[in-house]
Subunit: 69 residues, 2 copies
């Protein structure tokens, strides 16, 4: 069940921030790609199944950031 | 948390089938749009949050069809 989820993450300021978010979110089960737009904070996550807000919150927090929308 | 989920539904043969699927899937909580391609059976569901496979299975079954992928 192909799923694409879009979240907005605050606090990312450089490529290292982007890499951290990609690494943590990309490690969630079933995730096939993570695309981050640094300027807008928009993160698009493609996955094989639905991801819960809780899973995404935890992964983004692990990277050191926060989902704001 | 904007979510787009793509499923494939078997058995739809005409515009009435499409309308039934749109109605049932569109009634799931948080769903903002349902796009159906009759030829391929591809159904794209945009929603404000994640939808579970169980919710989608139930809605498609209520319309009289089945998710095959």
């Amino acid at each position: 069940m192909a799923t694409s989820t879009t979240i907005t993450v605050s606090g990312m300021t450089c490529g290292h921030c982007v890499a951290s978010v990609k690494e943590e979110v990309g490690a969630l089960p079933g995730v096939t790609s993570v695309d981050v737009d640094l300027e807008s904070g928009r993160v698009t996550v493609d996955s094989e199944g639905p991801l819960s807000r809780e899973q995404l919150d935890a992964a983004v927090a692990e990277a050191g950031y926060e989902i704001v929308a």
